[in-house]
Amino acid sequence: MEQYEFIVVGGGPSGMSGAIEAARAGVKRVAIIDENLTLGGQLVKQTHKFFGGKAHRAGERGIDIGVDMERTCGELGIEILRDTVVWGIFNHDTLALYQDHKSRRIRAKAILLSTGASENNITCPGWTLPGVMGAGAIQTMMNVHRVLPGTKILMVGSGNVGLIVSYQLVQAGAEVSAVIDILPAIGGYGVHASKITRLGIPIHVSQTLKEIRGQDRVEEAVTIEVDSSFKPIPGTEKTYPVDTVCIAVGLSPLSELAWMCGCEFRYIGELGGWVPCRRETMETTAPGIYIAGDASGIEEASTAMMTGAIAGLSVAERLGYLDPGKSKILRQEKIDGLVPFRCKYFEFRQEANQRLMEMGGVVQ
């Protein structure tokens, strides 16, 4: 069986950061495994500029950050296994891969699960009609494959994803009829919301989907207002003649491999649901299995890079390439980098992470 020092499952921002930090510290035989043909995870579709400070690569576009990180991986001699699925992990050190229609096993001294997240759905009559798509799916189609899946869109969800994708849809030549959100306030950054309203797109809060209608495809969507306890108010329906309904109502961690490793979990709604318990080093309760990025709790690409880096530095320490003191200092820089993304609008993330700690989800 082939032996690696460090295997990273998922080559998005957190996985690449983890691999890069570990390799920089001297860890040998580092590999990133990804089920896609291209690395970068969701960065490949993020045409917008990032926020934060220099450490977060603010002002750079996600698409460029992904390419640059992949180049760094190459310079550091990190092996990349593309088009390869990890379908299981056994004994905390053996990974089962599916590649080229064949299965094989490899072994690693440490494993980072940076498997990301999947998009949430909401259900209403008609929610399975062709033309109802996740915001990430629409971004993939238009920004990666350069195909616009619809021309007239109703956006459901006013978080940053809903707002940014609305703007990107207009950039690509589509018309966004409205953005709705069941919550009584806009979820995303004010700067993104302003861009949408400047384009003349209304954002309606306290509204949800009642029904999507159409023969074999979306032809119209019906919204309805809700009261303060989220109950629909009859008589407030509004019909939008749209061909596409874009769903941007959050994400859930993709943590099957962590469940399979027997990791302990806690339920924290604001972090996307069930999240694996972890140490400050991002090690789960399964020895040698680390977690980072959205798989460890839904936040964003900038925080994914930080948590991935923390995991990578911890792995370097575990394998004897970094002394504990130095590792702690380097990790603290990354922990400090998380702060701007866990305040103001996203204060709830700090609170959620605090609650995770109180629930025994952060192991000392």
């Binding site: 089920e35 999947s118 062709p130 350069r146 616009l148 690509a172 074999d216």
Partner: protein
């Protein structure tokens, strides 16, 4: 609909045009793009129908997770068209 020009991404990169066979009709596609992208650009919305109720399903996640876009490609059923790349002369049909 193809996005020919884009304020951030620029013009479409030049790619090799090929044809694929969709339900007995020839449609235009670019070599190497996902089959689902080519079908969507040609206006195809229904990729499969559910076995029991015959309900239509189309592209939902576009990254190979949800399997709503599975079709029979070159005779192989259950092919995820959103992550399977176009090759010239492929046959693509609804799985019945």
């Amino acid at each position: 609909m193809r996005i020919l020009e884009h304020p951030i991404l620029g013009d479409q990169p030049s790619r090799k045009k090929v044809t694929i066979d969709y339900e007995g009709k020839k449609i235009e596609a670019y070599e190497g793009e996902p089959i689902a992208a080519a079908l969507s650009a040609s206006g195809v919305m229904v990729f499969r129908r559910t076995k029991k109720f015959g309900e239509p399903r189309g592209i939902s996640c576009a990254i190979g997770q949800c399997t709503d876009c599975i079709m029979k490609v070159n005779g192989i059923p259950n092919t995820r068209t959103c992550v399977t790349r176009v090759e010239a002369g492929m046959t693509v049909e609804e799985q019945r």
